[in-house]
Amino acid sequence: MDKFRYRVKHQKIAPFHFISQLDLSRLWSRAFRRAGLPVAYSQGFNPRPLLSFGPALPLGVESRAEYWDVFLYQELSPEEILMILNREVLSELKAEEANILPLSFPSISRSMKGVRYSYYFSQSIEEKAGLSPDMGIEEEKREVVGELFVVLFLFKEEKILYSPAKWAEILRKEWGESPVRIVKEEVLW
């Protein structure tokens, strides 16, 4: 049977930052069945949809750039895929983008070149000194959004897969502030 590989980008906005990676994988498998998406299944006694995720997002971190790869047994246009998927999930999980990929394309984790995260603080962090960038985590921008103070960090090189929750711990130690919100903004390929 022919297979077609797609990479889909979706959101995972509050309150869905409180569901785990396992929950998310079940959620999409069920959305596929409701949508009637022609998903290819694994062979064997316990067939599972051929669905693979990138690095798991820690609990409590939101995202505007989550990805998974899926194999279909029929070719569909990216627009069609997005349309039928978005009928089956809530807006906080909206699928934003779908691309067809060569079957042998590297996995999500291996294709990533960098990840941008926003850290939202309720107290001003203007006075706080920047942290040394040699760790592979670089502060890119500070701004004020409404009543919140936001710092944008780029995780790259050996820190691409570094946990944004652990980074929040380091910020708390350095700055004495815990972020009220962490959002994965973007993946660089």
Partner: protein, 594 residues
């Protein structure tokens, strides 16, 4: 209420499984405020993962939300870490759909599935800021409704509720809501007297109980008996076409499809077998239609065909074959949760495409043929061996067998016979395993054993010691676990308890008792103190044989099965005589239901 504004990210992350409290699941009903005349909160006195697995909740949610002008939303008992946080932060118990505090609903329906949830009923009311006792609740508070199997003896929790519904809720809930709608704003007591006129509705405030000096009940008045509701035709009964799909992995994370209600077998220990009579089936056509709709609306990967004894369903072979075939392409499995112990059931299980061939579960319940006759589980040893052989030869690696100990008339040799059965089974299946689930028998109301005494913990432990000595030498092919006898003791006292126990439950709750069905939270000492402080004797409720004439706390509540029939069955059990399954038109024992 906006949960995200009330609790910070850090606070939410500090509690276990925050996904329990966020709602937003697929297929929830979100009605607009302006469209709502009557609102009902369906509250489950246990954790999200347990409550969300319960079929009754799904049926009532569906029926209520299908009614124009009616809003039904869910609430569950929070795990104690979240309960504590809610108290500290003054967050009232809220519904998951629109995050509305429970006390703002017109009615709160609480499902009573298990006696050990009773402290959680108080936990729910307390977190909701609703006074615990019916008589303390003013006009501004919602009516508290109760239902489920425990409603057949709800006396221990009766002061906390305004109304109980006995039996099946499909029709009655519509009548109840209609009265709430018509009488909205009228005096609470007037609404209650009107609700009491609905068949199956029990308003405990309208009944009074007096006691003899020895603690037995002298009189319950008025003498009017409340009879349960039951649906005559399952095909005509409403059944959800869509159900909520949770994100968390709940206990029964699949489509529950009820194929039959009631059971014809008449096992004398089984309360479900008595209170859910008569046996009724949903037609295979209807089951198939519902299965296909539910798969489409939920995306679930499994359909479970529910009934008290799935292989007693008359068209089970056809249904399983046809349904498996239809669902194969969408990679949906069919499963059967309750198998009768015979070769036919193994064949049916074999035809399921589900290929988890790890184990098959049966319930012989007692070790000897004699004791199985006492409890009316008419299985011979040979029936058991043949079923197990067939199970092993069909590829399963293990059988799981449920047994009870502490059954009426049980002797030491019956206990030894459990081990003998296991030995024989191991001999018949080389390299195969046996997994035993052993629980203490608890006499329940409305069963032939409602007169009998529950066995003491000490004696149960002696029996377990015999089992240990016989099972351990059998090696690693035998695994077994057993119930917590202290928990069973309290369950026994509550299941045949009377109104006076309500003060004990309240005391236990005040001492910190919640989630009593979770071993890590259960404390026998708390319950013993509660009984002592109320001047009540726990043993009076458990370890006492009742006379034929004794007035039970549930005397005025009827599942349709007559006391005479139950007594006759009790006598037959003592004569070790079986009563074959009832069959319409052929074997009728005049139990009184039909």
């Amino acid at each position: 209420m906006d949960l995200e504004k009330t609790l910070s990210r850090q606070e939410m992350l500090s509690i276990s499984k925050p996904a329990r409290y966020i709602g937003r699941e697929w297929n929830i009903s979100l009605k607009k405020k302006e469209d709502v005349e009557i609102s009902v909160a369906l509250a489950f006195p246990d954790l999200y993962e347990i409550g969300m697995s319960h079929l009754g909740l799904k049926i009532l949610y569906y029926i209520l939300n299908s009614l124009p002008g009616v809003r039904a939303e869910r609430a569950f008992a929070p795990w104690p870490d979240m309960g504590k946080m809610m108290k500290e932060k003054n967050i009232p118990l809220y519904s998951l759909e629109n995050k509305i505090p429970l006390r703002n609903f017109d009615a709160v329906g609480i499902s009573l599935q298990h006696e050990l949830n009773y402290t959680n009923v108080l936990y729910l009311l307390d977190l909701a800021g609703i006074p615990l006792r019916s008589e303390e609740r003013g006009e501004e508070f919602p009516l508290i409704l109760g239902g489920g199997p425990c409603a057949f003896n709800p006396e221990p929790v009766s002061p906390f509720f305004d109304v109980f519904l006995l039996g099946e809720g499909e029709e009655a809930i519509v009548e109840i809501v209609e009265i709430l709608r018509v009488m909205k704003g009228e005096k609470r007591s007037d609404v209650l007297s009107e609700l009491a006129k609905i068949e199956g509705c029990y308003v405990p405030l309208l009944y009074s109980v007096s006691y003899h000096p020895d603690g037995k009940i002298k009189n319950i008045s008025p003498s009017r008996v409340v009879r349960k509701r039951w649906v005559k035709n399952l095909d005509g009964a409403p059944y959800p076409q869509k159900i909520i799909v949770p994100y968390l992995n709940i206990v029964h994370d699949r489509i529950p499809l009820e194929i039959a209600r009631g059971c014809t077998r008449g096992c004398r220990f089984c309360q479900a077998g008595m209170i859910y009579r008569p046996h009724r089936e949903r037609s295979p056509e209807k089951v198939i239609e519902l299965a296909e709709k539910l798969v489409k609306s939920t995306g679930y990967e499994e359909v479970s065909l529910l009934s008290l004894s799935s292989t007693d369903y008359s068209a089970i072979e056809y249904l399983v074959r046809d349904l498996s075939f239809r669902l194969k392409e969408s990679k949906v499995n069919v499963s059967l949760p309750s198998l009768r112990m015979d070769a036919f059931s193994v064949e049916v299980a074999q035809s399921l495409q589900e290929v988890r061939r790890s184990g098959l579960t049966f319930a012989p319940e007692a070790g000897s043929e004699r004791l199985r006759r006492v409890i009316n589980k008419g299985l011979t040893d040979e029936d058991i061996f043949q079923t197990v052989e067939k199970t092993f030869s069909s590829g399963w690696r293990e059988v799981k067998l449920y047994f009870m100990i502490g059954l009426p008339g049980e002797r030491e040799e019956d206990i030894r016979d459990i081990a003998n059965l296991v030995k024989e089974i191991l001999g018949r299946g080389k390299k195969k395993g046996v997994h035993l689930g052993i629980s203490a028998f608890i006499p329940k109301s409305h069963t032939p054993f409602q007169w009998t005494k529950q066995e003491e913990i000490k004696s149960l432990e002696e029996k377990m010691a015999i089992l240990h000595s016989l099972l351990r030498p059998l090696g690693r092919r035998v695994r077994y676990n057993w119930s917590d006898f202290e928990v069973n003791l309290v369950e026994g006292a509550l299941s045949r308890g009377d109104r006076r126990i309500s003060s004990v439950i309240e005391r236990v709750y005040r001492k910190g008792g919640v989630m009593d069905n979770w071993r890590e939270f259960f404390s026998l000492r708390r319950w013993q103190e509660g009984f002592e402080e109320e001047g009540l004797d726990l043993n009076f409720y458990t370890h006492r044989e009742r006379d034929r004439e004794e007035i039970f706390p549930w005397e005025h509540l009827s599942p349709g099965v007559s006391k005479d029939f139950l007594w006759k069955e009790y006598q037959l059990s003592q004569e070790e005589k079986i009563t074959p399954p009832c069959q319409e038109g052929k074997n009728c024992y005049n139990c009184g239901v039909c």
